[in-house]
């Protein structure tokens, strides 16, 4: 009996030890590609050619970053992305609030609620497709402007539902007593409901910012002028779709290696804002995702 118990104990310890090693190994697998890119961005040309770099810079140098300092395209697109995120935050949050509030009211208070609910749900279920959407963006004159990246998707129905569920859970007595005092719907929303929604607004702000920072396809589709491209679209064009065929043979290898160094530096610089936001993201996204997917 005693023998058995100690055996059991050992296998448990064994599992726990293995579990720690395995999970830490998996975590390292997630981290190493990023470390490798960071290390490459700080490495010298020859080290990159002979592919010696693993997760630590070889022949440490800042040359790749110095080179980017002279690259106007990079900075212009960086600023476009910042502008885009700010614009999207203001418009999206406002749109989400004024859409979610009427929908959060019960049917007795807002008899047209089911109609509007379906009206917005359908946009989530069915889309017109790439070409028709492109044509309407072009018809409304948004092509080649930053508005083409913000306006068409200003009403994010997923976040509207998240916000709506949050508002539904607020005590009704608050808005009712305000209404008795003669406050209209707009006053109730912006003076009573809004301050109570801070946690869900924080979640949506972070997600909207990250989504818009990371979005690259609309920039490629709607904007021809590469000085107006957001950062990710710019990176997509220089890092992912580097056209080797357009280089002359003599320069190819040397140019490619230079490009590899500066490209990794560009990737790192594009990651920095996400890394800065990450601690806040982590604090809020658990609530966000659980609110959004597990509604009881």
């Amino acid at each position: 009996m005693v023998q058995m118990k100690s055996n059991h104990f050992d296998s448990r310890k064994c599992f726990e030890g293995f579990n720690y090693v395995f999970c830490i190994f998996v975590a390292m697998l997630c981290f190493i590609p990023m470390l490798h890119v960071i290390a490459t961005s700080f490495s010298g040309k020859t080290a990159i050619i002979s592919s010696k770099i693993i997760i630590w810079p070889v022949d440490f140098t800042l040359n790749n970053y110095r080179y980017i300092m002279k690259d106007m395209n990079f900075f212009t697109s960086f600023l476009v992305s910042v502008e885009r995120v700010c614009l999207a935050l203001i418009i999206d949050i406002l749109a989400i609030l004024i859409t979610a509030y009427p929908l959060s009211l019960s049917r007795t208070k807002f008899s047209a609620r089911p109609f509007y609910m379906w009206y917005f749900m359908i946009t989530m279920l069915f889309g017109g497709g790439m070409v028709p959407t492109y044509l309407i963006v072009s018809q409304t004159g948004l092509l080649n402007t930053i508005w083409s990246l913000v306006l068409p998707n200003a009403v994010n129905v997923f976040f509207v539902i998240l916000m709506m569920n949050f508002m539904k859970a607020l005590p009704e007595a608050l808005s009712e007593s305000a209404a008795l005092d003669g406050a209209g719907y707009f006053t109730v929303l912006f003076q009573i409901i809004l301050p109570l929604c801070k946690p869900s607004i924080a979640t949506i702000v972070l997600f909207t910012a990250v989504n818009h920072w990371n979005e690259w396809f609309n920039g490629m589709l709607y904007i021809n002028d590469n000085m107006k491209w957001p950062l990710q679209t710019y990176l997509q064009s220089v890092v992912v779709k580097t056209d080797i065929s357009q280089m002359t043979d003599v320069d190819t290898l040397a140019a490619l290696v230079d490009i590899q160094g500066t490209n990794t530096a560009k990737i790192v610089l594009a990651m920095v804002p996400i890394l800065c936001f990450y601690p806040f993201l982590q604090k809020y996204f658990v609530t966000g995702i659980v609110l959004g997917s597990v509604k009881e």
Binding site: A112, G127, G128, V131, L151, F217
Partner: protein, 307 residues
């Protein structure tokens, strides 16, 4: 008489509720212009659309574009690629997070657990543009991955992104790398909701940790696994445009081309607007049916409601 009372009820409601309609005016307008008008515009899939003539004057051709699409040769293969990659992503997207959440749940050291979580969630927040550029770098001939394999004596150095046989695997595994950490959040939340009393009761009945996992933990999170499986049904034609567009090249079209990338190339490179829209409409229609179906099943089996 009855009609009149209906109208008066309507008037009374409108008088009270008009600010709510006003509030919704702008969002409704934006959704109408950028979502509903394109839905109507998708009817150009049944036209021989010519930009010079516009939507209203282009010739109506019925199902001709769809016939061309399915007899063109490439498209059936594109559908097969899409479903294959999407299914593999759905399966790994449930299996890996569930297993990892179970393993994390067994950890007693909360600091280590928290650190691991912090690291594995991270890739989700990087764009596919960044992840693809990292992958291109790492999976190159002399990239980190081939060098690591070399340590274990693997000689031939494959360029993974240029090998049609390996491309779908690379796509699916890259997706696991980027998204599995994020997927574990849901299951960790579900695990936290399992009643601790059940574990005590099981322990008193003589169940070890493994038995407890089998008979308490798994049944505890089973509803969530079922729900996530049902809801992922709607993604069966979603193989991930962002990922594949940034990783593929003409060399791997035969195994890597999916509906979304096909729609893009048809529309914006070959300028075959009607064919492109037809392919897109085909996908939207099936996805829409699948999503509605999955929500119905989810409601019937688990009581899940979106709103």
């Amino acid at each position: 008489m009855r009609m009149n009372s209906h109208i008066s009820v309507f008037r009374r409601k409108l008088k009270k509720e008009w600010p709510l309609h006003l509030m919704l005016l702008l969002p409704v307008a934006v959704a109408f212009i950028y979502h509903y008008i394109p839905m109507i515009g998708a009817l150009m899939a049944f036209e021989d659309y010519k930009p010079a003539l516009g939507f209203f004057k282009s010739k109506w051709v019925g199902f001709e574009n769809f016939v061309t699409l399915f007899t063109m040769g490439d498209f059936p293969q594109v559908i097969r690629n899409t479903i294959g990659i999407a299914l593999a992503k759905i399966i790994t997207g449930i299996l890996v997070p569930v297993v990892f959440a179970l393993l994390l749940n067994e950890m007693k050291n909360l600091t280590v657990k928290k650190m691991i979580q912090t690291v594995v969630y991270m890739p989700h927040f990087l764009s596919w543009v960044l992840v693809a550029s990292m992958l291109i770098e790492i999976l190159a001939q002399d990239g980190l991955f081939n060098r690591a394999l070399g340590l274990f004596g693997s000689q031939p150095k494959t360029v993974y992104l240029a090998d049609p046989g390996k491309f779908p695997t690379v796509v699916v595994l890259s997706n696991v790398w980027k998204e599995f950490g994020y997927g574990t959040i849901i299951y960790l939340a579900a695990l936290a909701g399992v009643d601790p009393n059940l574990y005590e009761a099981a322990a008193i009945d003589g169940a070890g940790r493994w038995k407890q996992t089998l008979h308490v933990t798994l049944p505890g999170i089973a509803p969530m696994i079922v729900l996530m499986t049902i809801l992922s049904l709607g993604n069966i034609l979603n193989a991930g445009f962002d990922e594949i567009f940034n990783l593929y090249s003409p060399i791997v079209y035969e195994t890597g081309d999916i509906i979304d990338t096909f729609v893009y190339r048809m529309g914006f490179q070959s300028l075959q607007y009607s064919i492109s829209t037809a392919a897109g409409l085909f996908k939207s229609a099936i996805s829409c049916i699948l999503i509605i179906l999955s929500y119905r099943i989810a409601y019937k089996t688990t009581g899940y409601r979106v709103f």
